[in-house]
């Protein structure tokens, strides 16, 4: 490391070895830890020049519209046999701008048969996320994308935000061929088809999340974006179009014994966007924030006064060492640059709401830079303060 110096220092050192000089950007790629340490000495963070416990500015942007692409909204089809809908349907969306990073979340909906064998009504519903971190490449998802997706999935269930019960489609409407309106709960006529399908189907939530210009760990911001999105989620009504009801009668000509000899009724289920109902969340949404811990290393510091000789002398002075070289832990909020990301290994991610925590994920990734209980406490407090300052509810 002796042959790498800051450009500012170029004329002060006179040694036999030829000095190599790197511009700021190159040095921060070659020796991120050195750059970080020198900034820490100044009480600043590299690139962003934020304070240690400062968070990046967050801007939220969303529209309350429901997007149904390509076709007019009533043409969105759902047949009994296939429950995958057109992926153009977006029920709620959110764009979060964190520093220079953009996160786009889109919630969409599917209908699946409510299988009481596999799903308990009293349990909590998952959201199936797909996280894409844009890097200008295509192919199989990276480990990071998989990890973030899975974390989102787990924390949505554990946070108990959505009750499975609320996703079950309780009443199905019907649109007769004559009228243009959809009627729900028509008690006058006991429709066998409607009764049969009540409580049989359930909504399934999908989240498509794109991250552009990634800066620092993304999980917390992705989670926040999804949470803000969830707050606005509305479910459309579901109805059966009478004209689409069809009976399938197997032809008697078939001699294949194994063919199913059952009459099957098929119909199309459609979304009614005029009759939207807001999702009632089981719990208040929480906000997640991350922290890192790094120890200030005085040996990597630039001396503030005097030439290099005094630096050398200081280093030689053994008696001074014990006082000088005390490594001091620094808690950094919102890890936000690649410099910080590549040199801070001990990280902590806390999500909380006004009353309690919903998840804490603390990982000590380096033996020299451990998170102490005190820092954990500080981080917990900061995350509460962060929740209050964003005040999403």
């Amino acid at each position: 490391m002796t042959d790498i110096t800051n450009p500012e220092q170029q004329n002060t050192v006179d040694t036999g070895i030829a000095l190599m000089q790197f511009p700021k950007q190159v040095l921060s790629r070659l020796q991120p830890d050195l750059v970080l340490q020198r900034h820490l000495q100044l009480g600043l963070r590299p690139k962003t020049l934020m304070k240690f416990e400062e968070f990046r500015n967050v801007e939220e942007n969303s529209s309350d519209d429901i997007f149904v692409n390509k076709t007019s909204n009533s043409d969105l089809q759902m047949t009994k046999d296939e429950d995958s809908s057109d992926d153009a349907l977006i029920l709620a969306n959110n764009v979060l701008k964190v520093g220079n990073m953009f996160i786009k979340t889109e919630l969409s909906l599917g209908i699946a048969e409510f299988d009481s064998l596999n799903i308990n009504e009293d349990s909590f519903a998952p959201i199936w996320p797909e996280v894409n971190i844009d890097r200008g490449r295509i192919g199989a998802p990276t480990d990071e994308e998989m990890i973030v997706s899975r974390q989102i999935f787990e924390n949505i269930i554990c946070g108990k935000y959505i009750k499975q019960k609320d996703l079950v489609i309780k009443s199905i409407g019907k649109k007769t061929e004559e009228s243009e309106t959809v009627t729900y709960n028509s008690l006058s006529e006991e429709d066998e088809l409607l009764l049969e399908n009540e409580n049989k189907w359930s909504f399934v939530l999908y989240a498509k999340i794109n991250v552009y210009s990634r800066e620092g760990p993304v999980y917390d911001h992705v989670f926040n974006s999804l949470m803000l999105c969830l707050k606005k989620l509305k479910f459309p009504g579901v109805y059966i179009e009478e004209s689409s009801i069809d009976l399938q009668i197997p032809s008697k000509k078939s001699f294949n014994r194994k063919q199913k000899q059952e009459t099957q009724r098929t119909f199309k289920m459609k979304f009614d966007f005029q009759n939207c109902k807001k999702l009632i969340l089981n719990k208040n949404i929480s906000i997640s924030s991350n922290f890192g811990v790094i120890y200030k290393d005085p040996t990597l510091a630039l001396s503030s006064s005097g030439g290099s000789e005094s630096v050398l002398e200081d280093a030689m002075d053994v008696e001074n060492e014990s006082k000088e070289f005390k490594r001091e832990p620094i808690l950094i909020a919102d890890i936000s640059t690649d410099i910080e990301e590549s040199s801070i290994f001990s990280r902590l991610s806390v999500s909380c709401n006004s009353s309690s925590y919903t998840s804490i994920n603390l990982m000590n990734g380096s033996n020299n830079q451990k998170i102490s209980v005190q820092q954990l406490k500080d981080a917990l407090q900061l995350s509460k303060a962060r929740f209050n300052s964003l005040n999403p509810n």
């Binding site: 064998l117 194994k258 199913k260 059952e262």
Partner: protein, 318 residues
């Protein structure tokens, strides 16, 4: 890591000379002697089996874990009355450092052997798939056997086929009741589990062929290809790497051939086929009885108090 196992020329020659004089590297005294088969059934579980080959000194050479799991799925459109069955086996870093952890494609050895066992069980109707049907066209059971390789020194095919059959024989799926298309799955507390319909027990055996004389030599001396091979059962990993060909035969104890496979390699005389089948039969019979005995012992332990609870009257033959 994945670096292929390499055997030096000296070791190759040594192993081959041993084989030529009917000796094995691990101390067995005959080419047709198999290592000690040991079946361990996990108590309190159904279809959870450890199966191992032990060397003469008692150390474990190959150890597999077979586990059956089931779930309710929608049947294939062409076969609405049948359940489905899969075998999933994969070598990974745990079996040895010479195995790759993330494999691309499916042309690996164990994949080939896995399909072989799967077709052996499915095509011979060893597992009754129609019994797995709950509601035709809507709900059937999907049975899956996971074979985990925990220790590996050759003999995968035999052990995997024995392990799969034993775990299928031992497994019980939850009982179901169907009323008006509504399916209730009963836990083991409510209703006793249902055994799978295993109609016969095929077991695969692999004959490994080693070439005695070089092909060029045979042509020169104008002798026939007959008796130009050494036939060994249950090869260790190192022997396996040296073999010149293989012959796989799957039999059941009803003396029926279920599957035959000779994928290239050293040619053998046609009549050898029957000879191999005859050689295999007593071995298969012995293995089958071992399997059934292991299951019987386990059954007895599970059902310790069965005779006390029985309401059956004593009957006298007379």
């Amino acid at each position: 890591m994945a670096k292929d196992l390499e055997i030096s020329n000296i070791e190759k020659k040594f192993i081959f000379d041993l084989l030529a004089s009917s000796q094995r590297l691990d101390g067995r005294k005959s080419l047709l002697e198999q290592r000690n088969l040991n079946i361990v059934i996990t108590p309190n579980k159904f279809g959870d089996i450890y199966i191992e080959y032990k060397r003469l000194d008692g150390s474990i050479a190959t150890r597999l874990h077979c586990k059956v799991t089931s779930e309710v799925v929608k049947p294939k459109a062409q076969r609405p009355f049948e359940g489905t069955f899969f075998i999933n086996c994969e070598f990974n870093g745990l079996a040895g450092l010479n195995f790759e952890n993330y494999k691309v494609g499916s042309n690996s050895d164990e994949f080939y052997y896995g399909r072989l066992i799967e077709s052996m069980i499915l095509r011979s109707n060893a597992l009754d798939l129609e019994q797995l049907c709950i509601i035709a066209g809507l709900k059937v059971w999907n049975i899956r056997v996971d074979v985990h390789v925990l220790e590996f020194d050759g003999g995968f095919l035999e052990l995997a086929s024995i392990g799969c059959m034993t775990s299928l024989l031992h497994y019980r799926r939850p009982d179901v009741t169907v009323r008006n298309e509504k399916v209730t799955v009963h836990s083991f507390d409510e209703k006793e589990g249902v055994k799978l319909g295993v109609l016969h027990i095929p077991i695969a055996l692999q004959f490994n062929l080693f070439q005695l004389k070089e092909t060029a030599e045979i042509i020169k001396s104008n002798s026939s290809i007959e008796n130009n091979e050494l036939v060994a059962l249950d090869c260790t990993l190192k022997e396996d790497l040296l073999k010149d060909g293989e012959f796989i035969i799957a039999l059941n104890k009803n003396r029926e051939i279920v599957q035959l496979n000779k994928p290239g390699g050293l040619p053998i005389a046609a009549l050898k086929l029957i000879q191999f089948a005859h050689m295999a039969l007593p071995i298969i019979e012995e293995i089958t009885s071992k399997m059934l005995k292991a299951i019987e012992i386990d059954e007895r332990q599970r059902n310790k108090y069965g005779h006390l609870l029985s309401a059956e009257n004593d009957r006298y033959a007379g």
